[in-house]
């Protein structure tokens, strides 16, 4: 697929968090077998897409207001948890990653904003009528995801509207979101195919 300026490329919040690179302080390196940086599993795929969009001067979008706090804490804990038992995770390590994430967040200027739409009753009904049992157990996407979908649906666009996400709330309902709202959900781990 070729990137197109007519398309909208929007990123779910967690996929923005997944583009943060964490420097491991020398005191903590021994926990990570000598690694000095830590990245999320799909980092290079997201980077490839981000770099390509930048090269083509195509804007990237994020949804606001954001709720980075909970998502970032969960994501950072999971990332460190890939290398050690969370019960033995040094608090100073996690705190340092959170500090680095705060710096990363402050420097997030290369995204345009899409304001979430608070009025989601109508689209919620559509999901309720077409429930899917998600792997994580719930049957409906959470309200915050619905607010993003609603606004993206309303946004005018002459091309394709993409939302890149690793959240099952999106890709679990991929077909319904395409059919009812005209939005293409791209699984985060496949996002690099958008520019290949």
């Amino acid at each position: 697929m070729v990137l197109d300026i007519k398309n909208i490329y929007s990123f779910d919040e967690v996929s923005i968090i997944h583009q943060c690179v964490f420097k491991i302080t020398p005191a903590h390196v021994f926990f990570f077998k000598g690694k000095d940086t830590l990245i999320f599993p799909n980092y290079y795929k997201l980077k490839e897409l981000g770099d390509s969009l930048k090269k083509e001067k195509i804007p990237k979008y994020k949804f606001v207001p954001s709720e980075f706090v909970n998502n970032a804490i969960v994501a950072v804990t999971q990332l460190i948890g890939m290398y050690m038992n969370p019960a033995f995770m040094p608090e100073s390590l996690r705190a340092d990653f959170i500090r680095q994430f705060e710096e990363y967040k402050e420097a997030l200027v290369d995204y345009d904003d899409i304001e979430k739409d608070e009025n989601i009753d109508d689209i919620k009904e559509i999901f309720k009528k077409n429930p899917i049992k998600l792997k994580k157990g719930t049957t409906l996407p959470n309200a915050d995801d619905l607010k993003s979908i609603k606004r993206l649906m309303e946004k005018s666009c002459n091309g394709i509207k993409f939302i890149i996400s690793e959240d099952e709330d999106f890709w679990g309902y991929k077909a319904l979101i395409k059919k009812e709202f005209g939005i293409d959900v791209v699984e985060e781990w496949k996002c690099h195919f958008l520019c290949r």
Partner: protein, 266 residues
């Protein structure tokens, strides 16, 4: 946030009576005092018989921000320092906004008043006050050891309850990190740094050990209060976190930037 050398000098001059400091020794003492307020500055201090001493202060030369003048006092040639207009501008436009980011208005006033009142004392009196606070004198050795032990016990009790702090905000995560770090620092002081200090004056000691012990004494009530407080004081948590875990990185071996840190906490 760390104050560069010229910024730190402008700060103490701006807060001193008549924007002047009457000797190099006094300038040394006032700059050292910023460490007791957990304000990171670009000067290193070691312990001599008068307390904190930085050889870098001997190398200070006149700049656009401050100047010096020699004068005779009790038969000795002494150098006094004064703030220039450019220095006042640097203080107002750079230093003050930096401080206002990390200090509450009350803390800012406390610092201002403290530097102002100290600037009216003799260097010797400032030194005596510093000795008393930092417990560097041999006569205070017993008190120093007692303090190190008490700090360790207090922080250990907090560290044991660390899982009671919910993990739902950045401030809480940093508070947990801060408590863990303080615990290991106090353990290092108790079991290594001050364990075999002996009865001799600690000549040449790296002053940051004493500043950090003083910092731990001051931070304990805050940590205790924050453990139970539903609304966290983000500004002060961030400030203390940055002072200990970010700004100390090249100032003290007990730093996350030290690859051998784990050897210090064993």
């Amino acid at each position: 946030m760390r104050l560069k050398k010229e910024e730190a000098i402008c700060l103490v001059l701006a807060f001193s009576k008549n924007n002047e400091i009457s000797s190099k020794t006094k300038l040394n003492k006032l700059l050292a005092r910023l460490n007791l307020f957990a304000i990171p500055i670009d000067f290193d201090f070691s312990l001599n018989k008068y307390g904190s001493c930085s050889v870098e202060i001997d190398e200070i030369e006149d700049t656009n921000y401050y100047g010096s003048e020699s004068y005779s006092y009790q038969g000795r040639q002494v150098t006094k320092f004064y703030l220039k207009d450019e220095g006042r501008k640097l203080y107002n436009e750079t230093v003050k906004p930096k401080l206002q980011k990390i200090l509450t208005p009350e803390e800012f006033m406390e610092l201002r008043e403290k530097i102002y009142s100290l600037s009216q004392l003799k260097a010797e009196d400032i030194s005596t006050d510093e000795h008393r606070r930092l417990l560097v004198d041999i006569e205070d050795r017993y008190k120093l050891i007692q303090t190190v032990n008490a700090v360790y016990i207090d922080i250990m009790e907090l560290y044991e309850k660390i899982n009671e702090i919910p993990e739902h905000s950045f401030a809480n995560i940093k508070l947990r990190g801060l408590i863990e770090y303080c615990y290991y620092l106090s353990k290092f002081f108790k079991e290594k740094r001050f364990k075999r200090i002996g009865d001799e004056y600690d000549f040449g000691a790296y002053m940051f050990d004493y500043y950090l012990l003083f910092f731990l004494i001051r931070i304990i009530p805050f940590l205790k209060e924050q453990m139970v407080s539903k609304v966290k004081d983000d500004i002060r948590i961030n400030r203390y976190y940055n002072f200990l875990m970010v700004e100390l990185k090249d100032k003290h071996p007990f730093s996350l930037e030290n690859k051998d840190l784990k050897e210090l906490v064993r």
